[in-house]
């Protein structure tokens, strides 16, 4: 997504652009696939940053649409119904109306009202979008901000799941951006899924004559005197360019540069990955009394966001029901989806041979579903009904994420070390997307745009 966005900006202003993609489809983590005649989106739970009326109609999503000349209306976005953060028996609900969320906070944590207001002000005063922003631990800031630690833990949960590359913390700038993206703006989904964004990008690139080479990975970037001179592909084809934008990640890009295989520094490696299981079921989610869109849950008062010791940890996770976006089409569907995401251990999955891999996937599906039902209204007693209604299950693991992104360790959000400005150690090579620290669909688009604008297009 970041690469396509950067390419489009550059092509719009007359640059000669070549897009190199390892896969035969575009989109990376925001890609799509078909299984048994059904279409699936790889990563899409929600498009964040929906410019809801209460957000004052300014949103990075609108910015991205403008910069790419994609009419916002053409995305056909539908807003969430209502979502929830649940820690044991404590629940904070939210929708795209910020005042509803504030009310929920004040009702659940009446003693924190003033402190929460101060915290909002602190975020407001913090220039999270600057490229020179200091690296601060959100966990320590939250600990200081509130008397009741649970409030901070509950805020960390959705923000971490939607964008933290670090275990058990998130840097304050990313937290602030995600807080705005999720709560102040809001969650929405294109009626036709992720292709509503990918298709116009690709179509525009095609119209402008930008060549996309698919199904061929970059193997090496040759350098001379601190400048990238040549790109070598898997099939040994070579290309030269004045500027190169890499969206495959920090560690991964460094690996393309080095001759000797020195293992990357541990602190640069992202560790956090997930497993996601999608159940396709007959009927509508409301047939089961489930009317919420996304549920972030945690079994404990303390939020743990880390690589689990076992292959998967279901004590914390995210449940998403795409048919609960307020798309009129969803009133008529005869089948729906339940998506469940949990932290997972890349090494465990990577070490499994095929039959064991498949068996472990099946085992995890059952455990994950069982746990998710505990967090869905009357889930437990409807277990048999839901299982009878289930038509198909599809599960992807950290290994799949590695396959789609090439991220070392199947790291969901890449390296904990970010390069905001997109600079690398090589003069004419820039990083865009995940390891620039701009996260998610909207982040990836804006990251690509920013690198194209500031590094290449902006007149010197």
């Amino acid at each position: 997504m970041s690469g396509l966005s950067a390419a489009l900006r550059l092509a719009m202003f007359g640059k000669n652009v070549l897009v190199l993609e390892k896969h035969y489809v575009v989109g990376g983590l925001n890609s799509f696939y078909a299984r048994k005649g059904r279409k699936f989106d790889v990563g899409l739970h929600a498009v964040t940053n929906f410019p809801s009326p209460s957000s004052g109609k300014t949103s990075p999503l609108l910015r991205a649409c403008r910069q790419l000349r994609i009419p916002f209306e053409s995305l056909n976005l539908y807003e969430q119904s209502r979502s929830r953060i649940s820690f044991e028996d404590k629940h904070i609900r939210f929708n795209n109306e910020f005042s509803f969320f504030l009310n929920e906070i004040y009702e659940n944590f009446p003693k924190e009202k003033d402190r929460f207001r101060n915290f909002l002000q602190k975020m407001e005063d913090f220039d999270a979008y600057s490229i020179n922003v200091p690296d601060l631990s959100t966990r320590s800031i939250l600990k200081e901000a509130f008397a009741e630690p649970l409030l901070g833990e509950m805020l960390l949960c959705p923000t971490s799941y939607y964008g933290s590359a670090q275990e058990n913390d998130i840097d304050f700038a990313t937290f602030t951006m995600l807080f705005d993206a999720i709560f102040k703006q809001g969650l929405a989904r294109p009626s036709h899924g992720i292709r509503a964004i990918l298709d116009p990008l690709v179509q525009k690139l095609d119209e402008m004559g930008v060549k996309r080479l698919m199904n061929n990975a970059v193997k090496k970037i040759k350098t001379y005197n601190g400048k990238a001179t040549e790109i070598v592909m898997d099939n040994e084809d070579t290309y030269t360019a004045d500027h190169i934008i890499s969206t495959c990640g920090l560690v991964e890009t460094e690996e393309l540069l080095t001759k000797k295989k020195t293992p990357p520094k541990e602190n640069k490696m992202g560790n956090f990955s997930v497993i996601e299981t999608i159940s396709v079921f007959k009927g509508k989610p409301t047939d089961f009394g489930w009317d919420e869109t996304v549920i972030f849950y945690n079994d404990d008062q303390e939020f743990r966001y880390e690589k689990p010791k076992e292959s998967m940890d279901s004590t914390s996770g995210v449940i998403c029901i795409p048919e609960n976006y307020q798309d009129p089409h969803n009133q008529k569907v005869d089948e729906s989806r339940l998506r469940i995401t949990n932290p997972a251990n890349f090494d465990k999955w990577d070490s499994l041979e095929e039959p064991a891999y498949i068996a472990e996937k099946a085992r995890c599906e059952t455990v994950m579903l069982q746990k998710a039902l505990e967090y869905l209204p009357k889930g437990q007693i409807q277990k048999k009904d839901f299982s009878d209604a289930t038509l198909l299950k599809d599960t992807f693991t950290p290994r799949t994420i590695k396959k789609y992104t090439n991220h070392a360790n199947g790291a969901l959000y890449g390296s904990p070390v970010k390069s905001r400005s997109g600079s690398s150690q090589i003069k004419n090579l820039y990083l865009a997307g995940t390891d620039q620290g701009y996260i998610g669909i909207v982040g990836a688009m804006l990251g690509g745009i920013a690198v194209a604008n500031n590094r290449i297009l902006r007149p010197a």
Partner: protein, 86 residues
């Protein structure tokens, strides 16, 4: 070329960049930023479209000259005329 034509060119560019903005009542003497929802990225686009469509260069130090339609007219007219003469 005259100042009104220059202003219209700028308005046309803005309508391409920000199709969601209502441009029917833009006051020429008031800063664009104060009446429309335009940020620095949008101004960069105005500059780049001027170069792409009309071959006019606006150095970064002079972006401020584009703050209102009137100032656009004053600042850009000589550039358009120089371009036409060349």
């Amino acid at each position: 070329m005259n100042k009104d034509k220059v202003k219209q060119i700028v308005l046309d560019i803005i309508s391409e960049i920000a199709p969601d903005e209502d441009l029917s009542d833009v006051k020429p003497e008031i800063r664009l930023r104060d009446q429309l929802d335009l940020d620095s990225m949008d101004f960069l686009d105005i500059v780049m479209e001027l170069r792409k469509q009309h071959g006019i260069d606006v150095p970064e130090a002079e972006y401020r000259q584009l703050e209102s339609l009137d100032s656009c007219g004053n600042y850009l007219l000589p550039k358009f005329e120089a371009g036409a003469a060349a």
